[in-house]
Subunit: 131 residues, 2 copies
């Protein structure tokens, strides 16, 4: 079943669909449950293969501190902000910040390959709910 570059397989687009439909990151086994609802017997490697392909395609990322996965669309560019009350995750643009860190490391001879920046706390909406 060779795949044209840039196209998703059924497996991959189902996983991506579930992630996009969710309002919070999903764990691999939550996705597995959804896939089993859709299709009957599905085993973990099926989900993990889709996650790997989608990540390599730049369509999703793993939220390390949640051990869960989110579409990059909801998490854009580098800084991931997570509300521990409502579970929502969003991306914050901070290009200057990322660039200055990058320069810092270059100056020390470090060749940067991958950055993870995740901030936990409570979002404005949840703070209001407690007020």
């Amino acid at each position: 079943m060779a795949q044209a570059a840039g196209e998703l397989t059924l497996n991959q687009s189902q996983v991506l669909g579930h992630l996009r439909a969710a309002n919070a990151p999903m764990t691999a086994y939550q996705l597995l449950g959804r896939m089993q609802n859709d299709r009957g017997a599905v085993a973990p490697p099926t989900v993990y293969r889709a996650l790997k392909a989608l990540e390599e395609a730049g369509l999703i990322r793993r939220i390390e501190t949640l051990r869960a996965w989110a579409p990059v669309a909801t998490v854009r560019p580098g800084v991931v902000v997570i509300c521990d009350d409502c579970g929502t995750v969003r991306g914050v643009e901070a290009p200057g910040l990322l660039e200055s860190l990058h320069e810092r490391l270059v100056a020390e001879g470090f060749a940067e390959a991958r950055k993870t920046i995740e901030v936990h706390g409570r979002c404005g909406d949840c703070a209001e709910d407690r007020a």
Copy 2:
């Protein structure tokens, strides 16, 4: 065996000792192996309890992208820089950077509780080795 505030139990100081003696972060099960060498039968909760107490005491942190643990002394203030070749981890001071991100989030009404910033790549030494 009630414990005076600020003192470590034997269990905790053994775990901390192993982490401080290592030149790279250790996984919980690597620590478990060391503890078993030291003491015979040891089960996972023993290690995880020590890790939790040490983390709450501010003495260690979990390196999320490695699923492993390191003493804060080697990882100081916020930005964790990890060489994927030699496995070493160090902390980089970047107070301005952290502060500007903090202000950014405050301005949006987000109450920050915990930040994880981890950068993977190749350190200067390892780059030289390949030259």
